[in-house]
């Protein structure tokens, strides 16, 4: 057993006792009842279980929770799918994030199994482009590189990619001439 303390969606979690050798996804599901992060292949391939880790230098990165143990996240700041939408004081959702909005508008997902992974990965991408804008001509390659490893078993790729492209083009500061 060991003690874990971290921040999830800007809320301090723990210190909480957990077995050392469980993977992060199990910690989220079984200890915190946060089931929005989906378990797919369990071996690091489908990227459904991706969450965001916020680094101290202000950058964010995507990390798969099925192949990374809970100890890797000790002391870290992470974001999961539960943290994107804005809630009111009663815990009701009042506003979705721009990434969530664009996926809904484009009807990108169907069963939703892969969606939390796509939302997190796209959010990381958008945040990276804010720091390092790309040329419009590079958009497709950049999207492919960022999202190419995410598996959608309902085959929603075209609509996902289209939505992300639209979002990048319509958000100020993500592209340069």
């Amino acid at each position: 057993m060991s003690t874990i303390a971290l921040s999830i969606n800007n809320k301090a979690i723990g210190p909480i006792e957990t077995s050392d050798d469980i993977m992060m996804i199990e910690f989220l599901h079984e200890h915190l009842n946060m089931t929005g992060t989906k378990f797919g292949c369990g071996v690091g391939v489908c990227h459904a279980c991706t969450v965001i880790v916020d680094n101290e230098d202000g950058s964010s990165e995507s990390v798969r929770t099925c192949i990374n143990g809970v100890s890797r996240f000790n002391g870290k700041k992470i974001r999961t799918i539960e943290g994107h939408a804005k809630e009111n004081e009663f815990g009701e959702i009042i506003k979705l994030s721009p990434v969530q909005e664009t996926f809904i508008e484009n009807f990108s997902f169907q069963c939703g199994w892969c969606t939390s992974g796509f939302v997190n990965e796209t959010t990381v991408l958008v945040e990276r482009l804010k720091l390092m804008p790309i040329r419009v001509s590079e958009i497709e390659t950049v999207i492919e590189k960022a999202l190419g490893d995410h598996v959608c078993r309902c085959t929603g790729y075209v609509k996902y990619y289209k939505a992300v492209k639209e979002l990048i083009l319509s958000t100020e500061g993500l592209t340069r001439s």
Partner: protein, 410 residues
């Protein structure tokens, strides 16, 4: 009647003669095809999605880029116009009709080939599909761009002796030695190079760092110490994975294109030679010393590695190799352990049902302190190697790995 019979026999003979010659030629071509696989010729002489044997694959050397040449049967761009003698000279002496070859072509190993095998290869290459593709000019720095210098290099470093059997060893061992040192050209990566960049035969097969990973020490002494059995070697060379771990870096294409095609007899000869033992070797018991959860390395292991390699290092079939009995971590110098942590490992596919997933690179995730703790921990749990490596030692090896990647990218 008698005359008739003779006439019949004679005509039958005439009929049979070309057929026998053709059958013999076909057999030679077939044999050459097998030998070409053994020598891994296609892998170096074919670019991705290019036509087989058309050449053009770049080889980064410390002196610049050398491109492999067209070795298809094309008369203009390939080797279709070579005589058997030309071909033999290229294979044994590194001298082609147009001039000296760079030793990136392993004639420094191929010289061991016997005449009949060279002829078989020659017949095979002449039977391949001609590829209309011009050779690319090399991009080498002075003075290595002067081919004339290669004559001098050969004079000092190249011994073009044909294979000689060792009378004290079995026929099987000798066949293994012929394959491994000749067409297999294993020494080209696994033997350290001297100041002239020639194989240092006094350290035959003791291992060399190339492009960020070490082509391991494959001397019988080291393989036996690590507890390889003949079956383990057969598995790793034929399938790329075994009880002792998987191949990675430059060895994956070698298994894929070359060793996986070996006949059983040849593979048995190879493993007899590598272990210096004709009989099967009994496996040693695996080392697993249990976890020490108070060690900082334990948290790193459970956080970064256990998801794929299993909390007890048992691995996952078709996902990632076990750490128990893994030869990569059971080495005195942990260069390859660090190399996989820094560089990750590319996905490996061997068939529709067998393969391994990619391992991510931890270059930007783990610092030297963490790399040191993790390496020490892994060694402590799964090997009998020392587990008191210092940060400055690890930093030294990391620098070596990075330098060797930079060298390869020149």
């Amino acid at each position: 009647m008698k005359i008739n019979l003779n006439a019949f026999t004679l005509s039958a003979l005439f009929l049979a003669l070309p057929l026998t010659v053709n059958a013999a030629q076909d057999e030679l071509v077939e044999q050459g095809k097998y030998l070409a696989k053994l020598g891994d010729c296609t892998a170096c002489h074919t670019i991705d999605e290019g036509q087989a044997n058309g050449g053009g694959l770049p080889f980064t050397t410390p002196f610049g880029i050398v491109y492999s040449t067209n070795i298809s049967s094309d008369e203009e761009f390939g080797i279709g116009h070579y005589s058997l003698e030309d071909f033999t000279d290229a294979m044994r002496g590194g001298v082609a009709p147009k001039g000296n070859l760079y030793p990136a072509m392993p004639y420094t190993s191929y010289h061991l080939l016997m005449d009949q095998d060279i002829e078989a290869l020659y017949r095979y290459f002449l039977s391949t599909k001609p590829v209309k593709q011009k050779n690319r000019d090399n991009d080498l720095m002075f003075p290595t761009n002067i081919r004339f210098g290669l004559k001098a290099w050969n004079l000092v470093n190249h011994d073009s002796k044909v294979f000689e059997a060792d009378a004290d060893k079995s026929e099987k061992w000798n066949r293994g030695s012929y394959i491994v040192n000749g067409l297999g050209h294993c020494g080209e990566c696994h033997t350290p190079r001297d100041v002239m960049f020639a194989m240092d035969q006094s350290r035959h097969f003791e291992g060399e760092l190339i492009g960020g990973a070490e082509a391991s020490d494959i001397t019988p002494k080291e393989l036996n110490r690590q507890g390889w059995t003949k079956q383990d070697l057969d598995d790793v060379l034929r399938k790329g994975y075994s009880r002792k771990g998987t191949v990675f870096a430059g060895m994956y294409p070698v298994v894929f294109h070359s060793f996986s095609h070996l006949t059983e007899d040849d593979m048995s000869a190879v493993t007899s030679y590598l272990l210096d033992n004709d009989a099967e070797v009994t496996a040693k018991s695996d080392t697993f010393n249990g976890h020490d959860k108070s060690d900082p390395g334990y948290k790193l292991y459970s956080g970064y590695c256990a998801g794929c390699h299993g909390i007890n290092g048992e691995g996952k079939p078709n996902v990632s190799p076990a750490l128990i009995a893994n030869a990569t971590i059971d080495k005195v110098v942990p260069i390859n352990t660090l190399s996989v942590m820094l560089n990750g490992v590319e996905e490996q596919r061997y068939s529709h049902t067998h393969g391994f997933y990619a391992m991510p690179s931890y270059r930007d995730t783990l610092n030297v302190k963490q790399l040191t703790e993790l390496t020490n921990y892994i060694r402590k749990v799964w090997t009998k190697q020392s587990s008191d490596l210092t940060e400055s030692q690890v930093q030294g090896w990391v620098d070596k790995i990075e330098d060797s990647i930079a060298d390869a990218a020149h």
